[in-house]
Amino acid sequence: MFKYLFAKNEDIPAGSAAVYFGYSSIMWFIVGTGLGSFNAAKLAFPDFVYGIELLSFGHMRQVHVLAVILGWISMAFAMAMMYITPALGNTKLWSERMGVWNCFLWNVGLALGLFLLWMGVTSGREYSDLPWFIDLVVIFGVLFPLALNVWMTIKTRRTQGIYTTNWFFGAATFMVMIVFLVGNSPEFFSLTGLTEAYLTWWFAHNVLGLWITPVAAAISYYIVPKVTGNPLYSHRIGHLHFWSVVVFYSTPAAHHLMSAPLPEWLKSFASVEGVLILVPAIAFVSNLLLTMTGKWKMFVENVEIKFTISGVLMAIPLNMQGGFQQTRAINWYIHGTGWIVAHAHLALLGFSTFLEAAAVYYGLQTLLRRKLYSLALANFHFWMLLIGFTTYWTSMTIAGLIQGAGKIYEVPYIDVVIAEHPYMIARWVGGTMVFLGNCVWLYNMWMTARAGTVIPAGRLPHELAYER
C-alpha cells in the first residue's frame, strides 16, 4: 500500500484501493468479532478477566460496536464501491490514489478512534460514542473522500444510464455525511437533555437506515445479476425500493424513544413510518428473489449467492421485527432487553454481513484474478457464520423475552440474571463461532492472493468454482 501513496494515479493498478479495503475489512471483522466474543464471555462468566479496568465491559463494548460498524461493515462497503461503481459505468475508479489514501487514513483514524474509546475518551452516546474531533475526521477525512470518488466515478461513467446499485452508492455516501454531521450536533453545540437523546437515536437509526441497509442492498443488486447471469427482475421495483428508503427509513428515529417525554404526535408519526420500513424491505426482497428465477441451484452451489441470498432472506425477519417491535404496545415489553441486542445483530451480523461477505469474496477474486484458494474453507466460513449467528440471535431473543417478562412482572433483577445465564453462554458460543470462522476466512483469502489459481482472461471467478 505504502508504495502507491505517492505514486502517480496511472501507475497504480486498477482495483488496488478495493483490494486494500477488502483485506482491511476482513481484519477489522476479526478484531470486532474477537472483541464481541471477549465481551460475551464476560457476560456469560462474570469472573472472566476480572479486576482490570481497561478490560472491563464498559471500556470494551463500544470498541466492539464501532470496530464492526466502521471497520468491517463500512470498509467492506468502501471496497464494494471502489470496484462495483466503476464496473457499472464501464470505466475506472476516478482516483485510485485517493482510494489508497482513503484506505490508509481510514485504518489509521479508526485505530486511533478505537484506542481513545478504549481509554475511555467517549461522548457517552451509544453508537455515536466517538469524541467530536474523531467525528470530524470520520466525516472529512474518511467519508468525504469516499463519496467524492464514488460521485466522480459515476459522473465520468461511459454509460448513459446509471444502474440501481450506483443510485444507492451515490445517495448513501451523501446521506451518511449528513447523518454524522447532524447526529453528532449535540457534541458540536453542547446540546443536552431530550434534544441530545433524540439526536443520539436519530444518528443510530439513520446509520442503519441510510448507510448500512441501503448500501448492503445495493451490493446484492450487483452480485445476484452478475453471478447468476440473470437480468435484474425489475428496474421499476428498484425505484420503489430506493425512494421508499429515502422517505420511510429516514423518518422514524423517535420510535427508539417511545417511553421518553417526546411529543406524542412525533411518536405516532415515527411509529407509522417505522412499520412502513416494510415497504422498501418488501420491494428489495421480492426483486432479488424473483431475479433468482431458474438459478436457485446456485443458492446451494455458489458461495457468493449462498451468502447473498441468506442475507436477503434475513431481511424478512429483520424488517418484520423492526416494523412491529417499535409500536407502543410491543415496545413496552421488549424495550431495554436483549431482544433489541438480538435485533441489532440480525441487522449487522445477519442481513448486512452476509451481503458484504459476498461482495468481498467476489471482489477479491475478480480484482486479484485468482480463483478462491479453498471452496471448502469458504463453505466452512459460511456455516460457521450462519450457525454462530443463529445461535446468538435465538439465544438473545429468548433472553430478551425473559427480561421483558421480568421487567413487566417486577421479578427481582438477580432472578432474571440467573434465568438468562444459559442464554448468555449460548450467545458467547455463537459469537465465538463467528470469530473463528472469520479467522479461517482471512487465511483463505490470504492464500487466495498468494496461491490461488490464476483466472484466465474473459472468465469470471464463479464460473471456475468447481473446475480443477
Binding site: 454509460t159 450487483y222 435484474l232 420503489l240 425512494w243 406524542e264 404526535w265 409500536t327 407502543r328
Partner: protein, 212 residues
C-alpha cells in the same frame, strides 16, 4: 423532456422518448448487468397496501395508553373512608376496586388495564388532591412512576378560563398521523411519476440484442 398526460397510468412519456429509452435499454451494458422491466407483482402490491393499513391500525396511541390522574380520582376519594381505614392494604385495595366498579366508573376499562396497589395510590394521592384544588382537568395529567405530570399530548386548542390553550388529553388521532398521510401521498404520487416516465411494463427488453 415531453410529457404525455392522456393516459397517465400507462405512460407519462411521449412515444418517441419511450422508443429511444427502449433502444438504449437493450443496447447498453452496465458492467455486463441487464435489467428487466417487470411490474410489481399483484400479490406484492397487495402486501404493500396491507402494510400501509396495518401501519395505522397497529400504532394508534390507544394501544399504548398511559394511566392518567382522572382514572384514580374515585380510588383516592375512597382512601380515607372508614371502611378502607379498617382493612389491610391488600383487602382495602380490593374493596376500592370493587366499590368503584359496582358504581359504574366511566374509566372502568382503563382502570382494569392499569391496576395499582395502595402504596401506588399513596404516592400520587397528595398530587392529585392538589390538582383537584387548582381545578385542573385530571385527564390531562399522566402518572409516571410516583409523579403526576402534565401529559405531553398536543391536541386541539380549547378555551380555558377565557384563554385558548392546547388540550393535553390522549387522542385517538393526532397530527403525527396527518403528517404520515401527507408523506404517503407525496411518496405515491412521486413514485408513480418516476415509474410512469419509464417505458410501459408491456415492454420487456430483448437482452440478446446488445449483450452476449
Amino acid at each position: 423532456m415531453a410529457w404525455k398526460l392522456d393516459n397517465p397510468l400507462h405512460t407519462l412519456t411521449s412515444e418517441d422518448q419511450n422508443q429511444s429509452a427502449t433502444e438504449l435499454w437493450e443496447a447498453e451494458s452496465l458492467g455486463g448487468i441487464t435489467e428487466d422491466n417487470n411490474r410489481l407483482p399483484q400479490p406484492v402490491l397487495s402486501l404493500l397496501v396491507l402494510t400501509i393499513i396495518t401501519a395505522f391500525l397497529i400504532t394508534f396511541p390507544l394501544w399504548g395508553q398511559r394511566p392518567h390522574a382522572a382514572m384514580y380520582e374515585e380510588y383516592i376519594a375512597l382512601m380515607d373512608s372508614p371502611e378502607v381505614q379498617n382493612l389491610s392494604d391488600e383487602k382495602a385495595m380490593q374493596y376500592i376496586v370493587d366499590k368503584v366498579k359496582s358504581s359504574g366508573s366511566k374509566w372502568g376499562p382503563l382502570q382494569e388495564r392499569h391496576p395499582l396497589e395502595m402504596d401506588d395510590l399513596r404516592m400520587i394521592k397528595a398530587q392529585v388532591i392538589e390538582l383537584q384544588k387548582k381545578g385542573a382537568r385530571l385527564d390531562e395529567y399522566t402518572i409516571v412512576g410516583n409523579k403526576v405530570v402534565m401529559a405531553n399530548f398536543e391536541g386541539n386548542f380549547i378555551e380555558d378560563k377565557g384563554n385558548m390553550r392546547r388540550e393535553r388529553v390522549q387522542p385517538w388521532w393526532d397530527k403525527g398521523y396527518t403528517i404520515d398521510i401527507f408523506f404517503i401521498l407525496v411518496f405515491c404520487v412521486a413514485l408513480v411519476i418516476v415509474v410512469k416516465r419509464l417505458p410501459p411494463f408491456s415492454f420487456q427488453p430483448d437482452h440478446s440484442k446488445g449483450h452476449h
